[in-house]
Point group: C2
Chain length 343, copies 2
C-alpha cells in the first residue's frame, strides 16, 4: 500500500492525502478525517526511504562504537546509555543507527555516515583526554552532542556530562570527614577524560586538607571486578595501607570488597569503600532504600535521554550554538563506609 493507491481509493490526489496525513492546513477537516480513517484501515504508513529522500532529513541519529581489536571490551555503560537515548528517539520519531567499527577506522566511519547522509547527527561517546573527534566533526559539519567533555575545549560544542570533579571531591571530603587519611583511588583508564576529572577531584580534596596524593594509592584501568580485587589486595599489603577505597564503578567496588574480605577485614568497619554508581540496569547498588555501597550516584540512562533530547533540539531548530548540561551526582549513604579505624 502506497500513497498513490491510497489516494486513488479515496478519489483524491496524492498531494491532498499527503497533506492530510502530515497535518497541513490546506485540507478540510472532513477530508482529513476521511483520509486518516482510510490510512488506518489500510494500515498505511509512508515509506521511510521515500520520505527521507523527499525531505532530505534522515530522521535518524548515529552512534559510532569503536571496538578495539586487542582487548575487545564493550563499554559496560553502553547498554544503559543507549536505552535512555533510544527512549527519546522513539518518542520523537527518530531511528537510532549504531555502527560498530574497528577503532582504527572510526574517523572514516564518521565521514561515511556524513557523505552517505544516513543520519542527521551523531552522539559521541567516551571522550579521551585528547580527542580528535570534535575537530573532525566540526570539519564535517555534522551536528553532534558529546557525552562527556574534553578538558580544555569545552565551549565550542554541545555536551552533557556529570560533574565528575565535584562528585569525587565530595566523595573524598566525605571520607576525610570520617577521619580517613589514606584514601586509595581505583580509577578508570587514565586517558579517558572522565577518569582524569575524577582524579582531579580526588587530588584537589586531599590537597585542600594538606594531604599529598600518594601515587601508590592510585591505580587506573578497565573498571572490572578483577581490577578492583587486584588493586585492593595489592594495596592492603602495603606497609602503610589505605583505610578507604574510592572506586570508579560498582564492578570495581565489588572486586575491592572481595579483596578486603579475603584479607580478613570487614567492609564498613575496618575499611571503607565509596564508589561511583552509574545506576546500570543489571548492576544495582542494593535497593533504593538500602544501598550497599556509599556512592556518588548519577544515572547514565538519564544522561542518554538528555543527550538525545539536546541533539534533536539542535537538529530541528537549526540552532548551532553549543549547549551544555552538567548533571550533579548525589551522594547516597550505604553500609560500606564508616569512621577510620583508630589504631
Amino acid at each position: 500500500m502506497n500513497l498513490k493507491t491510497l489516494a486513488q481509493e479515496l478519489g483524491l490526489s496524492p498531494t491532498t492525502v499527503s497533506r492530510a496525513l502530515n497535518g497541513y492546513p490546506e485540507v478540510s477537516e472532513a477530508t482529513r478525517m476521511r483520509v486518516m480513517k482510510a490510512a488506518e484501515a489500510a494500515n498505511y504508513r509512508p515509506n521511510t526511504q521515500a520520505k527521507r529522500l523527499a525531505t532530505g532529513r534522515a530522521m535518524a541519529i548515529g552512534h559510532i562504537i569503536p571496538i578495539s581489536t586487542r582487548h575487545e571490551i564493550v563499554n559496560p555503560v553502553f547498554a544503559d546509555f543507549i536505552a535512555g537515548a533510544g527512549e527519546v528517539y522513539a518518542r520523537r520519531g527518530y531511528d537510532m543507527v549504531i555502527t560498530i567499527v574497528p577503532d582504527d577506522q572510526e574517523a572514516r566511519a564518521y565521514a561515511e555516515l556524513r557523505s552517505k547522509g544516513n543520519v542527521d547527527g551523531v552522539l559521541v561517546h567516551a571522550p579521551k583526554v585528547e580527542d580528535h573527534r570534535i575537530a573532525m566533526l566540526d570539519h564535517l559539519g555534522m551536528p553532534f552532542v558529546l557525552h562527556g567533555r574534553v578538558s580544555g575545549i569545552e565551549s565550542s560544542y554541545s555536551w552533557v556530562d556529570v560533574n565528575n570533579v565535584r562528585a569525587f571531591t565530595r566523595a573524598t571530603d566525605f571520607l576525610l570527614d570520617l577521619g580517613h587519611r589514606r584514601i586509595a583511588l581505583i580509577n578508570g583508564i587514565g586517558n579517558m577524560d572522565f577518569a582524569r576529572r575524577r582524579r582531579r577531584g580526588y587530588e584537589q580534596a586531599l590537597m585542600a586538607r594538606g594531604i599529598a596524593p600518594d601515587p601508590a594509592l592510585i591505580t587506573e584501568g578497565e573498571m572490572t571486578e578483577a581490577q578492583g580485587h587486584d588493586a585492593a589486595r595489592a594495596m592492603l599489603q602495603l606497609s602503610n595501607p589505605p583505610t578507604a577505597f574510592l572506586t570508579a564503578s560498582l564492578l570495581s567496588a565489588m572486586g575491592a570488597r572481595r579483596g578486603i574480605e579475603e584479607a580478613g577485614l570487614k567492609m564498613g568497619r575496618d575499611i571503607s569503600i565509596l564508589t561511583h554508581d552509574d545506576e546500570l540496569g543489571y548492576l544495582r547498588n542494593g535497593t533504593a532504600e538500602e544501598p550497599i555501597f556509599t556512592a556518588t550516584r548519577s544515572s547514565v540512562r538519564e544522561a542518554g535521554r538528555r543527550c538525545a533530547a539536546l541533539l534533536i533540539d539542535q537538529i530541528e531548530s537549526g540552532d548551532r550554538t553549543p549547549r551544555h548540561e552538567l548533571m550533579e551526582a548525589v551522594l547516597v549513604l550505604g553500609q560500606s563506609t564508616g569512621p577510620a579505624p583508630t589504631r
Copy 2:
C-alpha cells in the same frame, strides 16, 4: 556532491557512472578506473536514501528492545550481542537500527518497522516460553532470526542458540561426579525459554542418577549479584544445605560467592560454584589461562555474529527455508569447584 554532477564533471552519463561504481560489466575498465578515481577524489558516496528508494532494499537490520516500564532492566547480554552482530553488519554494508519501545507496544513496533520499510529483516531477542512474536513476524512476512528458541516450535523459523540443556546436564554431571548430591540451581527468570532449558538439563542429569530435584534448591530471577547472594545465603541456612551452586550468570556467581564467604565457607573447598559464562566484555571470568569459576562457556558475542550472518544470508539469497545453528558450550575448569566435602 551527487551522481549527476559527478557524471557531468566526467563528461559521462549518470547511468555509466552508477554502473562503474557498482561493478557492472557494461563499462570499460578504462572508464571504470577514471570514475573510481574521480569519485574518490570528490569524496563521493551515493546517497543512502536515494539508493534505498531505487533498489527497494533498506540495507538495514532492526533490533527491537522492549523496555519494561516497571523494573527497567536492560539485558546485560545486550551490549555484547550487539557488538557481535554489528561487526557483521558493518562488514556486509548493513546498518543496524535499534528501536527502544515500551514492552506493551512491541508488536506495534514490528508492524511499523515493516510497513514503513526501514529494515530488511529483524533480529529477535530473548524468547519467552510462550512467545507470540514468531507468529506475528510470520504473519507480517518479515525475515527474522531468533537468538534462542521457543520450546515446542523449533522448525518453522531460523534460530541460533546455545545448547542449554546439554550445557547444564554436563555441568550437573560434573558436580555429581565430584560427589555432590545437594546441588542448587540459581536460574534466570522462569518464563525465559533459555532458563527453562537450563533447568531441564539440570533436572535430567539429577534424575538420571536417581536424584529427585528439590524445589527448595531451585530459584529463579533476574541474574544479578544480589540475586546470587540472597539465594546462596538463604539456601545455606537450610537444615540440609547444598554443597554446590549452579548459577546462570557470572554476576549471580559473584553474588553466590559472597554469600558463601559471609557464611565463613571457602569456595572450591567447602562449597562449589559452577556458572554459565556468556563471556561478556566487561565481565571476565578471570583470565583465559586461569578462570576463577568453573563454567560452561559460550560467547554471546559470537552468537551475535552468527545471528547476523544467518539473517543477511537469508535476506540476500531470498531463501526462506529455516536454518538453525546450535552452539555447544565448553566446560572450563576453574578454582570454584572441588569434591563434595565428606562429613
